[in-house]
Amino acid sequence: MPTFVYMTRCDGCGHCVDICPSDIMHIDKTYRRAYNIEPNMCWECYSCVKACPQHAIDVRGYADFAPLGHSVRVHRDEQKGTIAWRIKFRNGTEKNFLSPITTKPWGQAIPKLAEVPGPSKEMRDGELLYSEPKYIRMDDGGLRTLESAGLKMKMGVYY
């Protein structure tokens, strides 16, 4: 399901070129708009679709399995810290999702890993991973569980 660009929406800002992990989004030399230079190599990661400030990039399903008339569109709102999806099925059903992409203002909670002291030999030989046990809170009242949070496990799918 490679990406494609609505040429009339694109203003050639280059965000997709910058973010594409396959380096296949480029600026067309004649029209000065972005395009996917090698759709076969597209991972369908949606990075460019989310990064495009003009919503000029969409993803085209292969005709043999994608239902015609469907629509999957996304809006990544950096300033509000959310990502929203709108899924339209060809029978008219519509689903909307809204999820957080950050819980803190951007660029203010970057861990200063360069200042962290290197692991001792004992830590290297130990079973614990980096930041354990602190981040799993084993040293702060034990592991957080449903029970410790006063919740109960329910069977089946529920909302």
Binding site: D11, G12, Q54, E78, R86, S99, T103
Partner: protein
């Protein structure tokens, strides 16, 4: 020099009637070129078809007052303030170029048809030309996507550059010609000839250049705002976090105490890293 009407000084060589006829021909060429483009590319047919489709899919019908409000917003934000640009540098360059070009063309018409117009019109002509040059050259050498994102030489030319280059050439050669004429230098008429050539290419090249975007873009911006207001939004999500109804969502729990403005993430830096 800045207060002298350059076209009045030119009338010793070129008759004012010829100059006025030239301006009228240029206006006719722009109108004809735009109409040709509308018919040839089917843009108006596409625009109205898209409007009808969007209206049919729309969750709610828009009233007359809403349409007027959307038209005002489009005019003020998208047209007068170039609100569709995300890159502030491009937006400033566009504003300089747009207002400069309007001033430059308007002042040219006034100076040609009314040689005794006040010094203010000559000054506006200079100001408009300089604004086009500042915005245009800034765009051409530093902001243009081909240069900023792909790292190509600013001197590589393609047909897509017809509009910006002919506009820059027209403004630059016009200012150089007026300057040479005020100094009484030799070669004034050669530069004037090149100025007329560039200006003719600019106005006669409408079907091949992006000149007509000044008519199409406001229509597209208006349509975009309409789709957002009627709920179709080109199938894009319309739910946002500042809606109190959405704040009750389970997925929004983690953002309950977070500020509504998280600042900029990847858009903090201009995309030019590869």
């Amino acid at each position: 020099m800045l207060s002298i009407n350059p076209f009045a000084a030119l009338s010793a060589t070129v008759s004012p009637a010829v100059m006025q006829a030239y301006v009228v021909v240029m206006i006719v060429l722009v109108v004809a070129g735009t109409l040709f483009e509308v018919v040839h590319k089917g843009s108006a047919r596409y625009f109205f078809q898209n409007m009808r489709n969007s209206k049919a899919k729309g969750a709610r019908a828009l009233g007359g007052s809403e349409l007027v409000s959307i038209a005002v917003q489009t005019a003020v934000v998208d047209v007068l303030a170039s609100g569709e640009f995300c890159n502030p540098r491009r937006r400033i360059a566009h504003l300089l170029g747009m207002y400069g070009f309007v001033l430059y063309v308007l002042a040219t018409a006034v100076l040609v048809f009314e040689p005794a117009a006040g010094a203010i019109w000559a000054q506006l002509w200079w100001l408009g030309g300089l604004m086009v040059c500042v915005g245009g050259y800034w765009f051409w050498f530093f902001i243009r996507v081909d240069v900023a994102a792909e790292g190509n030489s600013p001197f590589r030319l393609v047909r897509a550059d017809l509009f910006i280059l002919s506009m820059l050439a027209s403004a630059t050669l016009g200012l150089v010609w007026a300057w040479l004429q005020a100094r009484g230098s030799a070669g004034t008429m050669v530069v004037f000839g090149l100025y007329i050539l560039a200006t003719t290419v600019l106005f006669a090249g409408v079907p091949w250049s992006k000149f007509a975007h000044m008519f199409f873009k406001p229509a597209a911006a208006f349509e975009k705002r309409i789709t957002r207001a009627d709920g179709t939004a080109e199938n894009l999500p319309t739910q946002t976090r500042d809606d109190p109804e959405q704040q009750k969502r389970h997925s929004m729990e983690l953002l309950q105490n977070a500020p509504m403005d998280m600042g900029l993430g990847i858009k903090r830096e201009a995309p030019r890293h590869y």
